[in-house]
């Protein structure tokens, strides 16, 4: 396995050997051929990248575990297209995801019990139990060998009948090429796209246009031609009721902050006041008209220190 070309040849041979089984396994496990093919292609590509680090004996276990872990194969019930050739047996649809995987690892992948258990990450007794539960049973609880044989034959038929173009498509998916669109099956039960939205949209556009045009040409009732009749009708309001209460001017006077001053004015006491700031300044200015500065500041005084005092001013 140290020879790269030999390793590549072994890998190609292994992948060719598992791709048919993988396709049927993925379709039956996930319930959808297309989803299964995408999952298989991703697993084939992913396995090709890690195969060199995995011992050859581990390849089957690793590959099937990788395929089983694909997101598309989790939980979706099989059964779409049931009855078609190569379709999953109806029995599979009644199984849960885990028992179905246990059954398919044996039936389609053809793994031995030990390998199948390793793929599922469980012990052999657990796998055996799961497989027993997954096998078809008769109504009385006994295993149904005929049903099992029928399932086995169906699996073989599906493996043999896998069309070549589907394998090519999987190969393209694996290599990252865009697959050809599959021909639309006449039995496709996808809901037909309704045909009415487009005509309905055009009808709405047309009606909107007509409604817009009607705002110009619709015969509105014309305004009266008589100029003496005002276009806006007015009606005088009834006289206002007297207010429940008014602000009493006497109360306003009694509570005025300047009442003292007003009383002083009424008594004539304010006539002598004049302008106190000017008068106080005049006292000094007239005493020494040559210098308005009343007292020379001491030389030790630095007034700049006092400027921050403005922040100490009381509120």
């Amino acid at each position: 396995m140290n020879d790269p070309s030999a390793a590549q040849a072994a890998l190609s041979a292994f992948l060719r050997g598992v791709e048919r089984r993988g396709a049927v396994f993925a379709e039956w496990q996930g319930g959808d051929a297309e989803v299964g093919d995408v999952a298989l292609a991703a697993s084939l590509r992913g396995f090709g990248e890690v195969a060199a680090e995995v011992p050859f004996a581990e390849w089957p276990r690793r590959f099937w575990a990788m395929l089983l872990a694909a997101p598309g194969l989790r939980g979706a019930p099989p059964g779409r297209g049931a009855g078609a050739p190569g379709a999953a047996p109806a029995h599979l649809a009644r199984l849960g995801s885990g028992p179905r995987a246990a059954l398919l690892l044996r039936l389609v992948a053809g793994l031995a019990e030990a390998e199948a258990a390793a793929v599922l990450g469980i012990g052999r007794p657990s796998y055996r139990l799961a497989l027993q539960r997954a096998l078809p049973h008769r109504d009385d609880g006994q295993p149904d060998p005929e049903a099992w044989r029928a399932m086995s034959e169906a699996a073989q038929a599906a493996l043999r009948g896998l069309p070549g173009e589907r394998l090519e498509r999987i190969a393209r998916l694996r290599d990252g090429r865009r697959p050809k669109p599959r021909p639309v099956a006449p039995t496709s039960n996808a809901p037909a796209r309704p045909r009415w939205p487009w005509p309905a949209s055009w009808a709405v556009v047309l009606l909107t246009g007509l409604a817009l045009a009607a705002t110009w040409w619709w015969p509105w009732p014309s305004a009266p031609d008589d100029a003496s009749v005002p276009r806006i009708q007015t009606q005088a309001l009834p006289p206002a009721a007297p207010p429940a209460g008014r602000y009493d001017p006497a109360l306003a006077l009694q509570t005025d902050r300047d009442l003292e001053l007003l009383l002083a004015q009424a008594r004539g006491e304010t006539d002598a006041i004049g302008d106190p700031a000017f008068d106080a300044w005049l006292v000094h200015a007239l005493e020494d008209t040559s210098d308005a500065e009343p007292v020379a500041l001491p030389p030790t005084l630095d007034l700049d220190e006092a400027v921050p005092e403005q922040f100490d001013a009381p509120r």
């Binding site: 700031a277 200015a285 630095d302």
Partner: protein, 198 residues
């Protein structure tokens, strides 16, 4: 001139401190007299007062504030200072009109804060730029006492106090003020002299 500018700045900064001080004193003087004066009015006088009130309310707020401050400042002044101011005004009126206008122009050219400082009267108005630091944090109930004490000091003592006020850090000014007021009124000038020039 530069020194005058600095002084103006100081006084402007303390103008806020001045107004409530003057106002508080004036309100303390007349707070209780208004209701009784109102009750004593006859109906006609009351009507006249009501008309006066309406006219007062119609004045611009700036004008009302100016008149209010002038009245409150006048109320706070002691009688001797009022007399000096009245005498100065009479002397000013006796001057020729040109000199009157020149003096008025000099006063109007002062900084607004400096002009407001003169509302404290001729004695304290001159010292206000240096004394304001002591007033900045005075509780309202102490202001009247402090103003009276300051007015009673001689000019040299007020100058000494101004120097002390500037030398004392803000957090020690309370203590300085209380110590000063704790001195007997007659000893305060000496005490201040000693503090300035030990």
């Amino acid at each position: 001139m530069r020194r005058a500018d600095r002084a103006s700045r100081v006084v402007l900064a303390t103008a806020l401190a001045l107004a409530p001080m003057v106002q508080a004193q004036a309100q303390a003087d007349g707070a209780s007299s208004a209701p009784s004066a109102m009750a004593a009015l006859g109906p006609e006088q009351r009507e006249a007062l009501q008309r006066r009130h309406d006219a007062w309310r119609a004045l611009p707020e700036a004008l009302r504030r100016e008149q209010r401050e002038a009245w409150q400042a006048w109320q706070a002044l002691p009688e001797d200072e009022r007399a000096r101011m009245r005498a100065a005004r009479e002397a000013w009126r006796a001057l020729p009109v040109a000199e009157q206008q020149a003096l008025r122009a000099r006063f109007d050219a002062l900084d607004a804060g400096l002009r407001r400082g003169w509302l404290l009267g001729p004695t304290l108005g001159a010292d206000w730029p240096r004394l304001h630091a002591l007033f900045a944090q005075v509780p309202p109930d102490e202001r009247e006492v402090l103003l009276a004490a300051l007015r009673a000091l001689p000019a040299q003592a007020r100058a000494d106090l101004g120097v002390l006020a500037q030398r004392t850090p803000p957090d020690a000014r309370d203590a300085l003020r209380r110590e000063l007021l704790a001195q007997p009124a007659a000893d305060r000038a000496t005490w201040l002299r000693r503090r300035v020039d030990p």
